[in-house]
């Protein structure tokens, strides 16, 4: 099982490698996991990963580290996780779904 840091780095790299998908996007995502927070800030399509919480996130995704890692690595269906309340989303749901589109 990779570490959370690797998963977030992969997310950042994936967005960078497909700039056309995030072109013009401005959004701040905060990920609240078990005892740790990560921020993914996308400014005009360019991602920046920061360890720690954001000042004013547009969207906050909340899960235990284990559940989040299972979602990120394909072991847990995100729809199921959401319906079972293993994954919670606060803020702009549209941006949450936009993020998923970036990671396809």
């Amino acid at each position: 099982m990779p570490e959370a840091k690797e998963v977030f780095a992969e997310i950042e790299n994936r967005i960078k490698s497909h700039p056309e998908k995030s072109a013009g996007l401005n959004a701040t995502y905060q990920f609240d996991l078990s005892g740790e927070s990560w921020t993914l800030k996308i400014a005009n399509g360019a991602p920046e990963l920061i360890q720690g919480p954001a000042q004013s996130p547009n969207t906050t995704l909340i899960a235990t580290t284990d559940d989040w890692m299972n979602i990120a690595t394909g072991k847990l269906n995100p729809v199921t996780a959401f319906m079972q309340q293993k994954l919670k989303v606060k803020g702009d749901m549209g941006l949450a779904m936009k993020l998923q589109g970036l990671l396809q």
């Binding site: 990779p2 995704l61 989040w68 979602i71 990120a72 690595t73 394909g74 072991k75 269906n77 995100p78 729809v79 199921t80 996780a81 959401f82 319906m83 994954l87 989303v89 702009d92 749901m93 549209g94 941006l95 949450a96 779904m97 993020l99 998923q100 589109g101 396809q104």
Partner: protein, 219 residues
């Protein structure tokens, strides 16, 4: 973390889904998978899906154009799960042989988790229409491309041919394991992956008998 909405009936100009709508869309997708698994693609109706989800017919059309649309969304979602699994279990494995087995094991574990869905794809997926076939082709191309560097490291020269052959082998083995096996003992995902890798890399004569238990060593 969330589902792909690119194939839903909603247009970009519509307002974003609310959390409640997002849950409903998820409920429809989950229900659809169960009904497709039970009744097959051709036997499934939108009415059966909304009934299984406990929602109204009108709710269905807020998110999907028709049966074809929800099947396509499901196909995308499941393909993403499989791709992610294989990617993450192979990403940091330096040894090519172990990486090959790890990727195959992820495939067989996915099949173990969703046997009825995979069976439906095997039986009906390519016969539904061109768009479904295109989605499956895209998935197979992605998976083959993921295996090709490993096969190259293992000394395979025709890596594209070999990668598609590997996928075909794995798909048939998984199907046999779940739906065609009669008297042979059941095999775990790890055993299937080991047998598959042994057959593919070393030849059929190298498949150990009896097969090693889960987590067994390499040939």
């Amino acid at each position: 973390m969330v589902t792909d909405v690119s194939v839903s009936s909603r247009t970009a100009s519509e307002s974003p889904l609310t959390e409640r709508q997002w849950v409903r869309r998820g409920e429809l997708l989950e229900a659809a998978r169960r009904v497709f698994e039970r009744d097959g693609y051709h036997g499934t109706t939108v009415s059966a899906v909304v009934q299984a989800a406990g929602l109204s017919q009108g709710a269905f059309y807020l998110y999907f154009t028709d049966k074809k649309g929800i099947f396509a969304a499901l196909q995308d979602e499941m393909a993403t799960l499989l791709r992610r699994r294989i990617y993450w279990v192979t990403r940091d494995e330096l040894d090519a042989r172990r990486r090959l087995e790890a990727g195959l094991r992820a495939y067989f574990e996915f099949y173990d988790e969703y046997p009825a869905y995979n069976r439906r794809l095997t039986i009906e997926g390519l016969g539904i229409d061109g768009s479904f076939e295109a989605r499956q082709t895209e998935l197979h191309q992605t998976l083959a491309a993921a295996f090709e560097p490993t096969l190259r490291e293992l000394g395979v020269r025709a890596t594209t041919v070999a990668a598609f052959a590997l996928l075909g082998l794995a798909a048939q083995l998984a199907y046999w394991q779940h739906f065609q096996r009669q008297h042979e003992p059941s095999m775990s995902a790890a055993q299937l992956a080991h047998a598959c890798a042994s057959l593919f890399v070393d030849g059929a004569g190298s498949i150990p008998t009896p097969l090693p238990q889960e987590g067994g060593t390499h040939a």
